[in-house]
């Protein structure tokens, strides 16, 4: 690294820059220049264009997935592929795979990234890019992503919000070892309804992928191991073709100019331009530099039309309360999706509040603003530590992204408006639940626990029968902390928050519940298609790394006896069959420390 060169560059980058003390928090909205870490890291907000993540191009994998040359233990793909790829599994059968299977390659590796223009910060990136390249997928189009770990750290990849086999779900101990590869099989198959038909109500839209390695998730995500995955099904493609929603694809496979992901993460820097990571911060990392798509406080030139923005909270511990403002006045917009799922209808809102792991798709209409108008995406949630936000305070507003309007009104704009029907939803009813489970999020003498227990990959705390609807109750009894609750495998329906009906945008489908201080959230979830193990955990990544996690194992019924099959875990050792974990048994024996 050559900090002197950068210092020189930065010193000349803004005449308005003023020296500030080291590590001052980000100034309020409207400040001219932001000091970061030291005067040498100063930048001027909203002078860097918003980067739009490029798309991951399909490729040919050699050896082909599922062949003996790519099986567990092989040199080419040491961790193999999910057994569901080959069996006559519902997710793999031909009639559910309507489009040819696509293959992709991702390599996680050490790289440098400019979060701040001109400052090369050491980073970890999928394909060396931060955030990672965008994966564009379709329901009915199976994908295999061959992920290679070129970094010297444990890794596992989780496609957050996806409905995938256990082998490919990013279980914290289903590693990709350094130098090794794993074929992540994403069937993009819908779970089946009771009538055996694909359940289109559970089709997903905005997913994100990120590292999920045991104890190292926070560190790996902070260093850059996160990216987006956008999925469409027939229904959503129809909404786009009918010009209800903006186009998701640009011409020739380019990213769309009107459907733009906005991945938010707050970063903190050392004097030398490296990311500041405090290995003793077990509360949750809070940064002082707001970034969007990997860049500190960028700007975006917009036309006078409607845009779809896919907001992603990839922060480790920060909670956002987002609004769009013009000259201090909030501009109303529409929310069309919560987490992975389109809402039943477009909801008019004036703000979006979300927690680590959440997504929110919104529609912002710039047509009413004359050319030259400047608007901001603004966070008005004040938060100074990883415990919880202090509360909404417009006086503490921080502008994340500036929009600059240009041109005349665009004719023939998309038609989405308040109340426009999107994805139908038949709500689950509590009477359908065959089991109720209570998950109590606690803190005991500095330790994060769920139900007075620490996560262990040796045992499953729950073994739901495949196909069951279950009622789960998340209780936050930790006394002054927030714990976003994220069950893998399936989206869930929030039926009550503190005994009350949830707000409109939260009462449909979610994949990460905003479990605030002292809160009780009741959910219903329909566990289908894939047998476990899966995990449910707090999505404050620092808490997650400290084992605020449980393992649940969906088990199938034995067709001969009709009884649920036994759990894979003996409670003493990590005894998952290598086909499911992707880890050869000899490695478990030689490195028990990796499977604890």
């Amino acid at each position: 690294m050559t900090p002197l060169t950068r210092r020189t560059f930065l010193a000349g980058s803004s005449a308005a820059a003023v020296a500030f003390p080291h590590l001052q928090l980000v100034p309020k909205a409207g400040a001219a220049a932001v000091p970061v870490g030291a005067p040498s890291l100063r930048y001027v907000p909203h002078t860097t264009p918003l980067p739009i993540p490029g798309r991951l191009a399909p490729t040919t994998l050699n050896p082909a997935p599922g062949t003996p040359e790519a099986a567990v233990g092989s040199a080419a793909v040491y961790h193999g592929i999910a057994p569901e790829y080959q069996r006559g599994h519902p997710a793999g059968v031909k009639e559910r795979a309507r489009y040819p299977e696509k293959h992709y390659r991702l390599e996680m590796r050490e790289t440098t990234h400019q979060w701040i223009p001109g400052v090369d910060t050491p980073a970890l990136g999928y394909n060396g890019i931060v955030p990672g390249p965008l994966l564009r997928a379709r329901i009915g189009e199976p994908a295999v992503v061959r992920v290679t770990n070129r970094a010297d750290v444990e890794a596992s990849l989780h496609l957050h919000g996806g409905h995938n086999p256990a082998h490919a779900d990013g279980h914290p101990c289903f590693y990709i070892f350094p130098g090794r590869s794993r074929d992540y099989y994403y069937p993009f198959a819908l779970p089946l309804s009771a009538d055996g038909q694909p359940d289109v109500e559970h089709a997903v839209s905005t997913l994100w992928y990120h590292d999920h390695g045991n104890d190292v998730t926070a560190r790996n995500v902070m260093f850059g191991l996160a990216g987006l995955c956008l999925v469409t099904d027939d229904l959503e493609e129809r909404l786009i073709a009918d010009r209800v929603l903006p186009p998701i694809d640009g011409p020739g496979g380019a990213p769309s100019a009107y459907d733009i992901p906005l991945a938010l993460i707050d970063q903190a820097f050392n004097r030398d331009g490296s990311l500041r990571w405090d290995p003793l911060d077990f509360d949750g990392r809070i940064g002082d530099v707001p970034t969007v798509n990997g860049v500190a406080q960028p700007f975006l030139a917009v036309e006078r039309r409607k845009y779809r923005f896919r907001l992603l909270c990839s922060s480790l511990a920060r909670v956002y309360h987002l609004r769009i403002v013009r000259g201090g006045t909030a501009v109303p917009f529409l929310q069309i999706a919560n987490d992975a799922f389109l809402l039943p209808q477009a909801e008019p809102v004036s703000s979006v509040e979300f927690v680590p792991g959440n997504r929110a798709d919104i529609i912002v209409d710039f047509s009413a603003f004359p050319a030259g108008t400047e608007l901001y995406l603004q966070n008005i949630m004040e938060q100074t530590n990883g415990r919880k936000p202090k509360g909404v305070d417009p006086r503490a507003a921080v502008n994340l992204l500036k929009f600059v309007v240009s041109g005349g009104v665009v004719p023939n704009d998309v038609t989405v408006a308040a109340g426009t029907p999107l994805r139908p939803l038949t709500p689950l009813h509590p009477s359908e639940a065959t089991a109720t489970r209570r998950w109590s999020f606690e803190r005991r003498k500095g330790a994060w626990m769920i139900n007075e227990d620490f996560w262990s990959p040796f045992r499953s705390q729950a073994t739901p029968v495949l196909g069951a609807v279950e009622r789960w109750i998340f209780e936050n009894k930790s006394g002054g902390w927030w714990h976003p609750a994220h069950p893998h495998l399936e989206g869930h329906q929030i039926i009550s928050i503190n005994g009350r009906t949830p707000p409109r945008t939260l009462r449909y489908h979610s994949d990460t519940s905003p479990l605030a201080d002292g809160m009780t959230i009741e959910i219903l979830l329909h566990l289908r298609t894939y047998t476990g193990p899966f995990v449910m955990h707090c999505h404050n990544n620092n808490h997650e790394d400290m084992r605020m996690m449980v393992q649940f194992e969906t088990v199938a019924r034995d067709p001969a006896t009709g009884r649920p099959r036994p759990s894979l875990f003996n409670g003493r050792t990590f005894s998952v069959p290598p086909a499911i974990s992707g880890i050869p048994a000899a490695d478990v024996a030689a490195h028990p420390e990796l499977f604890t």
Partner: protein, 204 residues
């Protein structure tokens, strides 16, 4: 709350081990104090006991009759577990959160009673109360106390903090999580070399 203490006050130092590293070594931010161990020897915490080393830290006070004795028993098992699997050096540091009462002699009696006194690389530490308080704060070993509140030794963390000061990798786990889990976490987080190299050796 003020921004966390900058861990780079020592300035930029290249870290060949941790190419994707971030903050400087944890030892660099510890107060440079001299503590006394249960053998009544002066020990310079930062330079002698932590810098560049693999460390497992625990916290107790000898007047605790319930939780702390169990912690020491668990750690004794962790110690034997690690010694059976590890040839490399590591240190166990057990710091009193009640330094005014816990003299070196009391710590020695306590360690002897718990069968933990005879290990050269396991030290029970005490010191000037102000020094110990600073050390506890640096290790985040005390629950935040309300302004004007009294620091109660029984409110100390039940966590064991472990890591490798050379690689800057640290974690923490409840002392009650069980010896196997704690030992394995230490072996993973505080491993001396590259994970890639150790896995490659296995594959051969």
């Amino acid at each position: 709350m003020a921004a966390p203490e900058a861990s780079t006050s020592a300035g930029f130092r290249p870290r060949p081990r941790e190419r994707v590293g971030a903050a400087g070594a944890v030892s660099a931010r510890l107060p440079d104090v001299v503590l006394r161990n249960h053998r009544d020897e002066p020990r310079r915490l930062r330079e002698e006991l932590v810098a560049g080393q693999r460390v497992l830290l625990s916290f107790l006070y000898t007047r605790c009759e319930e939780v702390c004795p169990r912690t020491v028993e668990q750690l004794r098992e962790v110690y034997h577990h690690l010694r059976a699997r590890e040839t490399g050096p590591f240190r166990f540091l057990t710091l009193s959160v009640d330094p005014a009462y816990d003299t070196p002699e009391r710590l020695l009696r306590y360690a002897v009673r718990r069968g933990a006194a005879g290990f050269p690389d396991w030290e029970f530490l005490t010191g000037e109360p102000a020094d110990v308080a600073a050390v506890l704060r640096a290790w985040r070993a005390v629950e935040p106390v309300e302004p004007g509140g009294v620091e109660d030794p029984s409110s100390h963390t039940g966590m064991v903090v472990l890591g490798n000061d050379a690689t800057h990798r640290w974690s923490a786990i409840a002392a009650g999580a069980g010896p196997d889990l704690i030992a394995n976490l230490f072996l993973r987080v505080a491993r001396p070399g590259s994970l890639g190299a150790s896995l490659a050796r296995t594959a051969e």
